[in-house]
Symmetry: C2
Subunit: 531 residues, 2 copies
């Protein structure tokens, strides 16, 4: 037997017990005639004590142990005189009577501590040592816990986890496939799935009703900070439900995970249309931990002789509460440089400082009177002491730029509390996205997404411009400005699906070749399905 | 809203309630002025009733519904006059007041019934229809339930599920890899994992202590009845445990699954050595639902002038209890043909019938007296009325042939009750398997399996013949003659691992190139690990 307890489990109640522990040597310390060893495993750290006077040979052996040696000890649990309140096992220590070395260790190339002295390359090379560090281990434990709680919750809700195959026929979904040559059929290839999209639709047609899978997906794309060629997603699909029921289901899942894993009770999950998100936050994934919504000055600002605004499609601003006195001209200059960087791309930045003393200072003071600008400020609910930042230009880019500026101000003003979680549903996404460069439509979500019921007729009969206005039964879950997930009601009608493929530039032959199987399935009683 | 209940949930308690149901039309029946529809979904079947007299238009619409149409109905739950005790919802029916067709269906190419009229090819082509049939659906639900209960049990036992990558460097494990060409590095390939073997050993070195994963494995091998190129396994690894603790852990998991999913309480999990399994059952995965163990007649049979036995390495038999009177000469003839088929490969079959009347009839009556054969029978615990079947020859093949004959007799005698589950641990497997054709050793389990502690010195210093006798800390779990799983204690010492690679025919360079990463990890404090 290698252990009767793990290194995180002994407490004051076990004092007097003779125990066996195994683990890694985290650190060795000498103190007078005593040798202390911190013994570590996945569960915690327990202090071992060797007494020179009582057992010189054993103590000598202990002194010879290097960092990361794997050892097994027998000993008695006793109460510590100087307790360590930062450690679960901090009330006790082990008076060791036997010591055996299970495996020695070379000196590790970096310290196995929360703050390691190893650089990225070294820690990647010795990944098994890096994973012994708490911050890395905790992330892996966290992920395991999330996966289990997802399964527990969805299983309780009658979802079935169904494994779909990995070696499949290519089903184009926008990204590039990884391919696997077939030995049995030379010249032919399997594809690795970009997602189980078509499989889960088939499962709905098959009547499985509520499907989920925590599943690997493969996309042969270039690396990005939040993207690797293989990644894992929680994949779901439901039949016979409305959009509201779907949102409720996944709101429930999200609440469950935050509660079980982080002990956080999430408040409301407000629902906001895509149009509202764009016009108020300049983003389809707004961070709503703070307000600072867009104010439209277009009506007031234009036609007053200031060319920049007169030529702009829109004049939009945000109110940075209480910041008037905190922003010197130099600070405003830096902020102007920031919005003019190519990543943001604004041409300039207009400000209005409404001083605590009711004074108005502004970069457009030459064009608008103090009284006028004070009215602008009042009209958008600003108060004395606030700073108003304004961008203008073409509507889409101005919204995007101001959205970035809003986030930057949120960061600077400490409004993005990492411990605060504000979920949000963004709904009614456009069905199609017009690609000006290639003069073609892309599916905003994916080619199986249904238009909103009210838009079906328009989609079947409308002209080209009408297609740009179609709204979809598609939704994203956003938390703190990060898209956590999303889904849509599927088209379950062959005619509508064919129309969609046509709009997306598939010929009938291409659609038939690539998706004929799925469209065929729709002819044998497809239920309404979503996620 | 598409439903307030599913098609499996309504009971007598809901009589009077107005409900909404959605599902597939399983069948339509006319009876006088009434039209009955069986509405099906994943959860069950509910009977709908349409009354011609009360609502002729609605009834007309109902009559127009084809098989597998997807419909939604409103109606009131009422008690059935002729209840159907075979159906959970058999006490009630729905008096339908509204009917809408969600999606029509073409006539399915086969019947969606437990016993379908569709052949394999047709059912594969329309897999989404085949999966609507209970037997197929139930298997998929069963699998989902097993996976969840495995996760629940192992999570409770402090196991962590850790996902390992799919696009990896090739780690030869005996089978052929599937490869994935890299777009970023032309001419180079990823391999898909044959199993996460090396990853999980790395995770143990990293201190994760108890790992599991329900994981896809890929082997580019030819298809067999129980093998496909991609398959899923429950993969585990533990550190700091002895073989007994491992066996207890997975005995616990197996008991849990049988209890939770099949409501079966498994009895003992006996443990049997590999040698005993071979000598008593002629198989390393014996079906112990019935006894009929091998009887060794070699000592008694040889040297009595019967050449066949004299020249045989062994003479082995089984006792088929009470079968003497049931086997005519013709039956024995058929059995002889059966063992002589190339799949079995025996040269002949000897029988001794010990009649209820104490008579002896035998195919070797010319060589041995009745008295002698009666003593043989008594010596192996046979009784009057029993049939003894004997094979002889080279030890390994005779055991294998008699093992097959034992199973055949078990089948014929109805001893293989499909509702009875008899688990068994087979332990102490050989470490190495000698390949006579290629004059080389193969790893019986895999190249990381440790010899038994008592055999370590022999392995490091012994000669070639000694290597064949080495026993490993390796074990299989067998249920009803099927290998359910297995594992082994790992080598965690670099010297021993190098010796093993050498025995398996790897040069130092090959071992270093293919497994250097793992062996390097062993030098930084590897714990004892198993599964």
């Amino acid at each position: 037997m290698y252990r009767t307890y793990n290194c995180g489990s002994l407490r004051i109640d076990q004092v007097g017990e003779v125990v066996i522990l195994s683990g890694w040597v985290q650190a060795t310390r000498q103190f007078g005639g005593l040798t202390f060893i911190d013994l570590r495993d996945r569960y915690g750290i327990t202090q071992l004590v060797f007494n020179e006077e009582q057992n010189p040979a054993l103590c000598e052996k202990a002194k010879g142990l290097g960092r990361e040696f794997v050892i097994k000890v027998h000993g008695q649990v006793r109460e510590r005189s100087n307790k360590n309140p930062n450690r679960n096992t901090g009330d006790i220590e082990i008076d060791v009577t036997e010591l055996s070395i299970i495996n020695p260790s070379k000196v590790p190339p970096f310290t196995i501590e929360d703050e390691s002295d190893g650089g990225d390359d070294l820690r990647m090379k010795y990944r098994y040592l890096d994973m012994r560090r708490s911050p890395v281990r905790e992330k892996i434990l966290f992920r395991s816990k999330v996966a289990f709680e997802v399964r527990r919750y969805l299983t309780q809700q009658d979802f079935i986890e169904i494994e779909t195959p990995c070696l499949i026929k290519s089903t184009p979904e926008g990204a590039r496939d990884f391919v696997v040559p077939s030995r049995m059929n030379p010249g032919q290839f399997y594809a690795l799935p970009q997602s189980p999209q078509t499989f889960k639709q088939i499962l709905m047609v098959a009547g499985f009703d509520k499907y989920f899978q925590i599943v690997k997906c493969f996309r042969d794309e270039d690396l990005r900070a939040d993207r690797q060629p293989e990644f894992t997603q929680i994949d779901c699909e439901m039949a016979f439900v409305t959009q509201n029921e779907i949102l409720d289901t996944f709101e429930g899942l999200t609440r469950h995970l935050f509660k079980e894993i982080l002990s956080i009770s999430l408040k409301d999950f407000p629902r906001m249309t895509f149009d509202e998100a764009l016009s108020s936050y300049g983003s389809d994934k707004p961070d709503v931990r703070f307000d600072m919504t867009f104010q439209d000055f277009s009506g007031k600002a234009k036609g007053q002789g200031f060319q920049v605004f007169d030529q702009a499609e829109v004049v939009l601003g945000i109110v940075a509460g209480g910041q008037a006195e905190h922003y010197s001209n130099k600070d405003i200059g830096s902020l102007t440089d920031w919005v003019k960087r190519p990543q943001i791309g604004a041409k300039g930045l207009v400000y209005i400082k409404w001083g605590d003393d009711d004074s108005i200072k502004s970069s457009i003071g030459k064009f608008y009177s103090d009284e006028t600008l004070r009215i602008w400020a009042q009209s958008c609910g600003a108060n004395k002491g606030d700073l108003i930042l304004i961008l203008s230009g073409e509507i889409e880019s101005t919204r995007k730029q101001l959205g970035e500026l809003r986030l930057e101000m949120g960061r600077k003003m400490g409004l993005m509390d990492p411990k605060k979680y504000c979920p949000l549903w963004v709904v009614d996404f456009p069905l199609l996205e017009w690609d000006e460069d290639n003069q073609r439509f892309h599916a905003m979500h994916h080619p199986f997404t249904s238009p909103k019921t009210a838009d079906i007729d328009k989609m079947l009969t409308g002209d080209h411009e009408t297609m740009k206005l179609l709204r979809a039964d598609a939704y994203d879950l956003v938390i703190n400005g990060v898209e956590i997930g999303g889904g849509s009601i599927r088209i379950h009608d062959r005619k509508l699906q064919e129309r969609n493929f046509k709009l997306l530039g598939f010929t009938s032959e291409q659609a038939e070749q690539q998706f004929g199987f799925l469209m065929g399935a729709f002819e044998y009683g497809a239920p309404l399905m979503v996620v």
